[in-house]
Symmetry: C3
Subunit: 634 residues, 3 copies
């Protein structure tokens, strides 16, 4: 029982009780006007030295002593003074009869939320180890408690691992002093131990409960009322909670997203929301930079090349910085069977995966590999609920203060993917209230497309943020900027189409559809904007305008073809699997859905594959309701 608790219980400490400090008590445990049992450990001319605990000692001056003393004698003393140099003076207390009461060291904890107020003072902290970084000097343990994460520096010997038995996920007690280190608060460790048994269990439960509560996403009303979207909200909340929890646990997050307008409208708000939340949680000011990374995907699915690199980077961060392996967040990408090999690669490591996508999913293929999966098709909705629309809500659930910067984003996302959602009107109105008319929104969408092309595999954080006008100021400049990028992109589309249109071949299919074919390898510029997929899409759109539905457009290169259909049900995955069988040695593979898709084959079998493909189109069912609104992945 501590002295404080003794007092709380109203016990009298006025003479009949003498306190006996436990061996691990420190000077902080010594109170004024309170009698303590001491043991004499030295007798000198000018007094006697006494020990109250292992670390609490002091002098009783001869002037206040009577009689003679020997080393080993007990003596009841009170604090007289603490000198400037830290020396402690005691004075004897007259006590005839007393009861001893032991005082245990006051390990009262200081949460990571109160570190700045305790800079320079020794404190105790309990938490979970989430990262162990060995530097050339000290070992840095990043410790998460109920309130946040703080780096704790323990020094053993230059570059030598301190407390080698302590590992990630251990619950530990740290005794140390918060100090500013390059401006961030860090705890200089005096001592550090693993909690055992009940203590550990109790602490773990306490922290777990707190984290669980803190991980809870914020309750935000959706930006607009939209019944269809309501079906997805519980799932999005789960993802929000998973991401917040991931941040609280100090696990890094790697975002891979479709490199188009909707993909960026999805990924950038979530990235910024997470960065801000990380900054709140972590004492280390560099944490946002180290713990989240957004990267455009090279392909419309998660390629082995991307996965191999992501994995290698993650392993190197673990090796070099003692970081946990990351959570992978796939946005506007990741719902299909084509993602499976990459997911299976990561499945051999502790890398959770969450997906928010609105492309036609293949839940059977992917579901068992994912920790969370949001896709409108899983709720009988479709691509019209774009990933950008979902992720603006997701970002708000993670960090609601971001709301005001995002009101125009869902409209951009919708226009980018030409969503025909009934909610588009509301989103457009919402954007209009912020000063974004449809022209400006369209400009943003085109500008994103154009800039993403030239940025290639670079995330282009600042430029994209400028184009999206998130966290940004000058309205007029934004208008000019996006209209410049958009116009420039449109000009280049026009140039491309000027070359290509004369070479588009027309055919009337048996089912009454128009078929247009364009050889994008030979009749479009290569390695320039727009890429073959977008070139084909633009031709398709112009042809629909010219001739009306039903229209199919095929853009083909030496070993690939991209398909777009309006008004004809192609069912491309089905076609691909038929072609695989019908064209032996054709190396046919591909993906897509009813009206949008792409097919690969070996160069030498192009003619055969395309002929077989067109034959299938002859028989395809006309369905005027079908529209290939969303742009084809390049």
């Amino acid at each position: 029982m501590t002295r404080e608790s003794a007092e709380e219980l109203g016990e009298d400490d006025g003479g009949s009780v003498v306190y006996d400090l436990d061996a691990d008590c420190t000077a902080d445990d010594v109170e004024q006007d309170t009698p303590y049992l001491a043991e004499i450990n030295g007798v000198v001319d000018y007094g006697v030295f006494v020990d109250l605990s292992e670390s609490v000692s002091g002098l009783v001056h001869e002037s206040v002593l009577e009689g003679t003393y020997r080393v080993g004698d007990e003596l009841v003393v009170e604090l007289e003074a603490v000198r400037d140099n830290g020396d402690i003076a005691f004075e004897p207390v007259d006590t005839d009869e007393y009861e001893l009461e032991s005082v245990s060291h006051d390990y009262s904890l200081t949460g990571t939320n109160r570190l700045e107020a305790n800079v320079g003072e020794q404190i105790h902290l309990e938490g979970t180890v989430i990262q162990v970084k060995q530097t050339g000097g000290p070992t840095i343990f990043h410790v998460a408690d109920e309130y946040g994460v703080v780096p704790c520096a323990a020094f053993e010997e230059a570059g030598v691992r301190a407390y080698p038995s302590i590992e990630i996920d251990d619950v530990i007690r740290v005794t140390g002093t918060p100090e500013y280190r390059e401006g961030s608060v860090q705890i200089e460790v005096d001592g550090l131990s693993t909690l055992e048994g009940e203590d550990a269990e109790e602490a773990r439960e306490r922290i777990e409960e707190a984290l669980d509560t803190r991980a809870e996403p914020h309750e935000v009303d959706p930006l607009i009322d939209w019944p269809a979207f309501e079906k997805l909200r519980p799932n999005l909340r789960e993802v929000a909670k998973l991401l917040r929890r991931t941040v609280l646990e100090g696990r890094p997050i790697r975002v891979r997203h479709h490199a188009d307008g909707d993909g960026m409208c999805a990924a950038v708000p979530v990235q910024i929301a997470l960065e801000r939340f990380i900054a709140d949680v972590h004492e280390d000011a560099d944490a946002p930079r180290h713990l989240i990374k957004r990267l455009p995907a090279k392909a419309p699915f998660y390629e082995m090349e991307d996965a191999t690199r992501d994995l290698n980077f993650a392993l190197e961060d673990r090796e070099k910085h003692g970081q946990q392996l990351p959570l992978l967040l796939m946005l506007d990408n990741g719902s299909t069977a084509e993602d499976v090999p990459a997911y299976e690669t990561l499945a051999h490591y502790d890398i959770p995966i969450a997906v928010v996508d609105h492309h036609h999913p293949d839940p059977e293929a992917v579901e068992h590999l994912l920790d969370a999966h949001v896709n409108p098709y899983l709720h009988d909705e479709d691509y019209r609920i774009t990933t950008g629309m979902c992720c603006v809500e997701l970002a708000r659930m993670i960090y609601p203060d971001i709301t005001d910067e995002l009101r125009h984003i869902p409209a951009v996302a919708g226009l980018s993917d030409r969503s025909k959602a009934d909610a588009m009107d509301d989103y457009l109105e919402l954007a209009a209230e912020e000063g974004y008319d449809e022209t400006r929104l369209q400009d943003v969408s085109e500008a994103l497309d154009y800039a993403a092309f030239w940025l290639r595999y670079n995330s282009g954080d600042q430029l994209i943020q400028d184009l999206l006008q998130i966290d940004n100021g000058d309205d007029e400049r934004h208008r000019e900027l996006v209209s410049f990028f958009a116009d420039r992109g449109r000009e280049e589309v026009d140039e491309q189409l000027e070359a290509a249109m004369p070479h588009v071949e027309h055919e009337d299919l048996d089912n009454g559809a128009h078929l247009y074919r364009i050889d994008v390898e030979n009749y479009a510029h290569r390695f320039t904007y727009p890429a073959p997929g977008k070139t084909t899409g633009e031709i398709h759109d112009r042809k629909i305008e010219e001739t009306g539905d039903p229209v199919i457009t095929v853009g083909y290169g030496p070993d690939f073809a991209v398909l777009r259909s309006d008004g004809v049900r192609l069912d491309i995955p089905q076609m691909v699997s038929e072609l695989e069988e019908e064209v032996p040695g054709g190396g046919v593979s591909g993906g897509g859905h009813l009206v949008v898709g792409s097919i690969k084959f070996v160069k030498g079998k192009r003619e055969e594959v395309i002929d077989a493909l067109v034959e299938k189109m002859e028989d395809a069912e006309i369905d005027e309701a079908l529209s290939s609104a969303a742009p084809i992945d390049d």
Copy 2:
């Protein structure tokens, strides 16, 4: 009026004058043997405490006092002593009658040129904020005054922006202490305020005037007398001034240059001159590394891809390091209409652009987008004044001490672009005096070409500097090095031509010219040195030697052709615009001038485009004076 100025005016301070310190005066303003008005703010046994200003207080000991005193009484005192611990003792002064003269705090400024002499002492400094970098700890304000730039560290709270109202371009007064920080001088800020009104205006004018003077380029005599070049000198001086001014203002500089011999002879001397000037101006030893970056351009013009990336990097440096957006310096590149889209992209940001080029310019297209433009064609001169020749003089205007390292560079530049300038003899002689005969110079030129090819988009700073023998020692090693690289390059050219020459097709044109065609896709090695442009040029040169003028050579790949003519006026821009119309769906575009150029088209229309092109050549005017000396851009 300050006391010092009072003294300067010869006023008597011997009894009839008592000084009254302004509230903001510090102990530094207190002089010995001088009477000050004090107010008693405490009376104790051993004396009275007096205040002379908000921060100047001290004790008057009872032993020197007579009578009684009350808090609030005035007293005239003199400095008695300053104790080791900083305590100040005063003694009373007998004064019957006196005149009060107020003393304002001595804010005499310490320029950035005198910081090292004042390390550890508090100083005042006025200057313009040129960069505001938020670190995890303090906020670093980079401040430029009349003499240079110094980082000033202000700490508010870990990672929190100090003085959030202060922005780039504000004129501020800093009170702080210069200290060494990782070896560079930095001011630890005690206080920092924006100057307002007249103070600001006066300071701004003073700094402006000083910067303007310091920006003035050095007066250097050109390395050789050359009347034609004289026409360009005033323009070059303007660029030199702009660049020096840019450095003084702390704005970063990004150099993009043509990745060939002349381009590197232009860019490297300017880069080194600027690096040295930056090192002189900035206290921060890392400034040269942060403030200038040289990059070869991927194409013979400023591509959208390069511009997009440059812009994104610039935005990220602004975001991460609080840097100003950079000035773009285009060298041996940048004068043509093909550069316009990229320039227009940057025009939406505060990014000044300066160009030094000797390719045929399109002033109407570019002039309004540029802050400075030097090109011999703008003065009725031509490509024979190479960019390297101009930029050696530019580098000397920026930093004259570099002169001795550059005497051989103009000759290398001239040989690289096969300049037939009348000044070439003088340049060759100048180089010869430094030990560079024509063989060695030619070796340097070929070595640059060869190394640049393999370095691709890497600037290869050290290797290129070694090949140019700037800032470098061992003469013998340099000879061996460049002759090795040059020979190796020549061997690879020979190998390429061994494959290609048997496939060169010859035709006699109606106008009497020889036409040679080579299919560089099918009859030259790909992705290796020399690239198609240089391969075509080498074939052209050999054919001229074999057959004499007039000769046209066309090297074509699947979707491009490069053209070279000696003795025939092709006017390639004219041809391109005719072909655009004559070959619908050909996707024809291109650039160049009378006798050198390149054309792009879609793969499927190659035959048609080339046939139409040859037809035009049949009618082209013979003009033996015309020579395609400069190498074709690849």
Copy 3:
């Protein structure tokens, strides 16, 4: 002679001897109860000041003095006390007659092995300068002595080179204080001087001798008994010594290796062994990261592109960090004439080159360019001794403690290159003892191949280390991981072959061999796994299984062909040189050996080149012993 040595010699210092400190003696040289000759340099009321050496002075108090003294008088004194503030008090000693003995300053050296024990104390150190890094603050001299390497920080002025006359390879004496700096020990320099004449010679010899001894590789018994391998061991020892010596001298090492299974089994163990040895030698904890870099080679030989980049990086590291130029270590690569141009490039710089390879070497071409060369063919052995097998032994000679982590590696290397070495059984058994049966080893090999393809030019340190299971824990996870990667790779091979096999063309050659041809450009997927070389190899293997020997397989693309033969002696280098002559303008080049190789040509001459090639094959000699076991380089 120092006083200590005088004492050691048993000389009496009891009155008859007075010591005379040399001018450079310090207070540390002054001992208690010992008479020293002093000179009076000041006389004051309270005593006289005396000098014992340039830096040793003190007071003799008047209370202990008798008589009068004048400046310049000699006096024999003893140490009385050293005050807290460092002032020294002496007292006079009565001496009638004495002998003077001079005391030289005790420069006893503290080796880099005893720095941690002397942190905070001034020490002396002698060593060779191996790196001089100018920082923004101090100049850092990295100094190697007999025991290791330590950074010594000397400060002259911010960013100004301290001791500018001191250069790499100078032997110097450092006086300074070891301190922890970011956790590593660094010496803060008080003084630093070049040793001259005999001192230098003696020190250099001492260090040289110590380094030579330390460079000596460890005596390790090979993992298995293998007479054929014994022939190579002395050469490997030389390489081990060269590498250890390189580390001791602080020279960086750049490893370039073949990007296949055997190449990685060779390079990774050597990399890790060197990293650990560097960590032992250098006080600077970052040294392993700065001093060794492993990179896969882009081609099966050392390309000019790689060499140019390596050289440029090396020059930049020299410029920026004052590092020596590196040693280049080529592994599983580097023995052939194709490497010569790259080697010749480096030959102009101080960059030693060592090669361990098992590809058919061209010793005449390369030997004079190499500092060390290990290749089984140089000892009448062949590719069956794989580079991985050699390098596991090399790694053990460098750092024997690594042995336990490497026992399974030679088996992986052997399987990767399908070595038919008689030692394979022993290696497999050795691996089996560690829990690696042949299936698991084969999985590792395939997994390496597959991962290397997707990592492209990235070294993928951690992922490759995971796949090789070096320095790694969880056995079960490793099995799952490699079997996943291996299966995935096999699946993709199957997909590739499904497309390609129907297009393989068969021909019966006159010599009775089967010839199979596959157009990998038109009938295999491009830019995906497996690349053309492996695709051809897999087809070849399947055909051998189907039809039995002798079989030749040719995989050709637009401008290249890869060749594999089992049972037919092709002698590819011979074929290439014949084709060069027979097909003018064919641009034929290539490399390889009897049964494996690749040929390049210009696209437009493909048919002619391949026809001529096949004609040669018709006449090729059947030799059933010949097998193209090792995989073709892609």
